[in-house]
């Protein structure tokens, strides 16, 4: 599977088809909005009993990307857990799984609106992280430059010969990059949404995830 290579603020990056961001120079993999423990939280709040397998699914894909890229650093860019209680309630097997993924890697948990505090798990906990010419934070800040964020779960839709193809997408312009949600069953916000149109400059690209990531002008 190919990645899509592009430049952000003088930094060469690769958008992977899985929805993860690869920064070759730093050997760094960044994923956003894992929402681990989502079914646990639904069960806790609504009483609906959903099988808690979405966490396994998300971790399986993450493990795959990690071994394929041999990443040395990992940033989980906020909303890593569906809420802090979900982080605490994560089953032992999944907790150990995460620990296993963290072996020999620098691991950063950036806080998100769903998980605004430290979690009882290895790795560093940060509100945001500056690295090289880039800043990693959960929610995009207007006016920021060289910023990588998540939060909005963007997706984009392209019409090709009468067929609408809609997929989670990376959005980037010269100043910022917004990552798609990596977690299983996290839903998406169409790139047409006002908030995304306001944030992103004219000339923004949307990179659709999938077998081969493909860039198009961001549909507005």
């Amino acid at each position: 599977m190919n990645g899509f290579s592009f430049n952000l603020h003088g930094t060469a990056l690769v958008a992977l088809g899985s929805g993860a961001l690869w920064w070759p120079e730093q050997q760094l993999l960044c994923v956003s909005d894992l929402h681990l423990g989502k079914t646990e939280r639904i069960a806790r709040r609504g009483g609906a009993q959903l099988p808690p397998y979405e966490t396994q699914d998300t971790l399986t894909r993450l493990e795959h990307d990690l071994s394929a890229t041999k990443a040395r650093k990992v940033i989980s860019l906020g909303d890593s857990f569906d809420d802090l209680e979900a982080a605490r309630a994560l089953p032992e097997t999944e907790r150990r799984w995460i620990t296993r993924l963290q072996v020999d890697r620098q691991w950063y948990w950036v806080e998100g609106n769903h998980d605004p505090g430290p979690v009882d798990m290895g790795g560093r906990h940060l509100q945001e992280l500056a690295l090289g010419r880039l800043t990693f934070r959960h929610i995009a800040r207007p006016g920021a430059r060289g910023e990588v964020s998540g939060h909005y779960h963007p997706k984009a839709c392209v019409r090709a010969r009468g067929r609408a193809i809609s997929r989670p997408a990376f959005l980037y312009d010269t100043d910022r990059l917004i990552l798609p949600a990596y977690g299983t069953f996290t839903g998406g916000l169409r790139s047409h949404a006002d908030v995304l149109s306001r944030l992103m400059q004219p000339g923004t690209h949307a990179v659709l995830t999938g077998a081969t990531p493909v860039a198009v002008p961001m549909p507005r």
């Binding site: 990645g3 699914d57 193809i165 081969t212 002008p217």
Partner: protein, 817 residues
């Protein structure tokens, strides 16, 4: 011969009736362990079933429940109660009769458990619930007879399997229980006898006089039927004409959506304002009851309906049946025709209305089959194990059980007579642990083994949840529809959740024959207002899309071998001649494939005659093979007789596509991720108790259930591919929605005899396929290619291509998926 007691003989005499021979026979054989009566409607069938009970109860000495009556429909139970009350009241018999269904009030149910009536009328689901109570042995104490009505309908579904498992339970309580089955005409009575009798008890089959042959014809119209579609709007004037000429007409449709559209069009053309009603399963109960009542009073001249009216409810003076659309299945057609004219010994009258040109052929084939007395049906195979899982849990609700005894009990059910101990143990293990991949989650660990070796619920509170989820009916998930008012307007019926999700405020659709506008969703209820629009966006009730039976498909194929078709209307015969001229007609034992370019794409048509579900599965598997072969398929559409596939590249050699082994592998792997398979899994997982539709706090919406079942399915596929639920899903895939069994039959039948026609343009026989709804896109390489092309075009057009970094001269990043 057992003489009729004087009180009964007098009653028959005052009514001016004679006892029917089969009623006498039922009385004579009332000590048989099992008896199956096959009789046409109107032959006093119900009374035959109850006569031995009434006679036995007449002296008033029996205490407790005597006879249990089970029917597939709640409405039928109510109807029977009415019909039984008459003789009981007339003869002053000391017999109590009560019904117990989902509609019975809580207080009455409680009382029934404490003080059961002599005759209890119920449904398979209510029976399952009753045997789940600890006091079931007390409630059914003294039970002597069980009467199963419309058993042919139950024998075709999992509801019947559940019922027979429940009966096995009762038989354990009351070893002398006698079973009586009442059935309409079926192709294989022995199979039903095997299904209903305690295995290996014998079961005698009584055939009542079938009555005169029906008078059945195809409706001829001046206007030719259209090329495709199922609406039959062209026939509206002719149908109205027929309604005018008869007292009461039943107009049957194959799907609810078609019934709605037809009813709407009928009203637009109904200049004489004939009283016509509509009745189908998606309508609100009150609405349905109102139509039923009007029908019984004889106020209606016609009713547009679907399968809900198929079963034996007594509908007064029906003298004409009209079937819109090809009947798909000869047996169902015959049973529907049986609805008309309830006078015994008068021929029923029926008209078939083909909805499109191909259905003309199918209708003629069906007529031939009816005249030849040839019914169709597929043997059902062994009883499904998801029902077994549910029944194990139901048994556990009633109290601790011994696994060996339960296994013996299960084997006394005909459908499960061949159940191996290993298969049984797998079900028991699933109920106890959830299976290997789920062993870590205690919500699925529901049984524990006690020190005395008996099994019981691990948490007694689970009984409530299990009872809430009893049943095997898998309704598509529906939402209620109401008129928008201040405080909850009139309920209209239900629509599918998926359809509701596709609506935006202002959209219009048909329900209950009126056009309504979608206003919004409030607390899981769709709110609508009246709308005067002429053309609605139509409710896509999934309904049931029946597949044409194997036997009927064979007949159609045999018709294609004729030199000419004097039996067909000229327009249809000409169409077939034209097909023979430009290409050829499909031949029995061979497979015709046509390929030609059209609409900027390469088209391939496979005339497999495997029924709608089978052709659809064939489409899924062939597109997968084409994907592997680099032919870039983009989508397909299936009908009962053919599959049309379109893509970017032409098929040159279709032979390799039909390698059975490769197709089977396809079923295992690619279909594994397919939505149809997931739906099959979801149905079985819900029945087996893996997924709970109902919880004490709230009913789970369909979307939530889909969400959870899809995750479970994927997980089990990955971590535990031999999990019991996946085994069951694969078993189910051979029939029903996936129907891979018929694809296998097809491939075995043709043995590589393929007629491939490479043509330059659309052929007459394939033309209707291009108008067919329900096109399914294939998301494969073709989509990647389209996306890449479109992206390049967009980037170029926007000028962004110049801004984007050139394809780097360093090696591009590759991730080894």
């Amino acid at each position: 011969m057992t003489p009729l007691p004087p009180r009964f003989a007098e009653w028959f005499a005052t009514k001016g009736w004679h006892i029917h021979p089969h009623q006498q026979h039922m009385l004579d054989r009332s000590d048989d362990p099992a008896l199956l009566l096959i009789a046409p409607t109107g032959g006093g069938k119900t009374l035959s079933g109850f006569l031995p009970s009434l006679v036995d109860l007449a002296d008033g000495r029996h205490e407790g429940m005597h006879t249990l009556y089970i029917s597939p429909l709640k409405a039928l139970a109510a109807d029977i109660k009415r019909n039984l009350t008459t003789p009981v009241a007339d003869m002053h018999l000391p017999i109590t009769i009560e019904e117990r269904t989902g509609d019975t009030s809580q207080s009455r149910r409680k009382r029934q458990r404490a003080d059961p009536p002599h005759i209890l009328l119920t449904t398979p689901e209510s029976l399952a619930l009753l045997v789940s109570y600890e006091d079931a042995p007390r409630m059914f104490k003294g039970l002597k007879r069980v009467v199963i009505d419309e058993i042919h309908a139950l024998a075709e579904s999992k509801r019947g399997d559940q019922m027979m498992l429940g009966l096995a339970r009762l038989q354990t309580f009351c070893p002398d229980l006698k079973r009586v089955g009442l059935s309409a005409t079926v192709e294989d009575p022995a199979a039903i006898a095997h299904f209903m009798a305690r295995h290996p008890d014998p079961c005698e089959i009584l055939m009542a006089d079938p009555g005169p042959a029906p008078d059945i014809q195809m409706l001829t119209t001046d206007e030719a039927p259209p090329w495709s579609g199922g609406g039959a709007a062209y026939a509206i004037p002719a149908v109205l004409d027929q309604v005018r000429q008869h007292n009461t007409t039943l107009i049957f449709h194959n799907t609810r959506a078609q019934a709605e559209i037809f009813f709407h069009n009928l009203w637009l053309a109904n200049d004489d304002s004939l009283p016509i009603g509509i009745h189908h399963g998606s309508l609100d109960r009150q609405q349905r009851e109102r139509v039923e009542a009007a029908m019984v009073r004889g106020d209606l001249r016609a009713i547009v309906c679907t399968g809900t009216l198929d079963l034996g409810i007594d509908w007064g003076d029906v003298d004409l049946i009209i079937q819109i659309g090809a009947p798909k299945n000869v047996k169902r057609l015959v049973q529907r025709i049986g609805r008309a004219n309830h006078r015994y010994n008068a021929p029923s009258k029926a008209l078939l209305v083909p909805a499109n040109r191909f259905e003309v052929v199918e209708c003629v084939a069906a007529l031939d089959a009816v005249l030849a007395g040839e019914l169709d049906g597929e043997p059902r195979g062994p009883g499904p194990r998801d029902v077994l899982c549910q029944h194990i849990l139901i048994t556990a609700c009633a109290g601790p059980f011994d696994a060996d005894a339960l296994y013996v009990e299960f084997m006394s059910v005909g459908a499960y007579a061949d159940l191996s101990r290993a298969e049984f143990d797998a079900c028991l293990d699933f109920c106890a642990t959830g299976g290997y991949a789920l062993r870590a989650y205690d919500r699925w660990q529901r049984l524990i083994k006690r020190e005395d070796g008996h099994w019981q619920l691990r948490d007694p509170r689970a009984a409530q949840r299990i009872r809430m989820n009893i049943g095997t009916i898998q309704d598509t998930d529906t939402l209620k529809v109401r008129m928008r008012r201040n405080r909850g307007g009139k309920p209209l019926g239900e629509i599918e959740e998926g359809f509701a999700a596709s609506l935006t405020p202002g959209d219009t659709f048909l329900i209950g024959g009126q056009i309504v506008r979608y206003e919004g969703l409030r607390e899981m209820t769709v709110e609508v207002s009246r709308d005067a629009a002429k053309k609605p966006k139509i409710a896509t009730f999934m309904g049931t899309k029946f597949a044409t039976s194997t036997q009927l498909s064979d007949r159609v194929q045999r018709m294609f071998t004729q030199d000419s078709w004097p039996g067909l209307p000229a327009h249809t015969a000409e169409w077939l001649h034209l097909q023979r001229e430009v290409s050829q007609l499909p031949q029995p034992g061979r497979l015709l494939i046509e390929s030609f370019p059209h609409d900027g794409r390469e088209q391939t048509v496979i005339y497999g005659f495997a029924g709608r579900n089978g052709q659809q599965t064939l489409g899924l598997l062939l597109t997968k093979r084409m994907e592997e072969m680099g032919l870039h398929p983009m989508g397909f559409v299936a009908t009962d007789y053919a599959t049309l596939i379109w893509g970017l590249d032409a098929v040159r050699d279709p032979g390799p596509l039909f390698d059975l082994e490769a197709l089977q592998n396809g079923l295992e792997t690619w279909l594994a991720g397919n939505a149809v398979m997931k739906r099959t899994f979801r149905a079985s997982a819900t029945i087996a108790g893996l997924i709970e539709r109902n919880t004490p706090s709230a009913r789970k919406s369909g979307r939530q259930a889909t969400f959870s079942s899809d995750i479970l399915y994927d997980t089990l596929q990955r971590y535990d591919p031999d999990h019991l639920m996946l085994q069951i899903t694969r078993e189910e895939a051979m029939r029903g929605l996936v129907d891979f069994g018929r694809v296998e039959q097809l491939i075995a039948r043709i043995e590589g005899r393929i007629d491939h026609r490479r043509l330059t343009r659309v052929t007459p026989l394939s033309a209707p396929l291009f108008l067919e709804a329900g096109r399914i896109p294939v998301k494969g390489e073709a989509e990647e290619r389209l996306l890449a092309e479109e992206a390049a075009r967009l980037m170029e057009a926007s000028g962004l291509a110049q801004l984007a970094p050139p394809p780097a001269n360093k090696p591009r990043w590759r991730v080894g998926y």
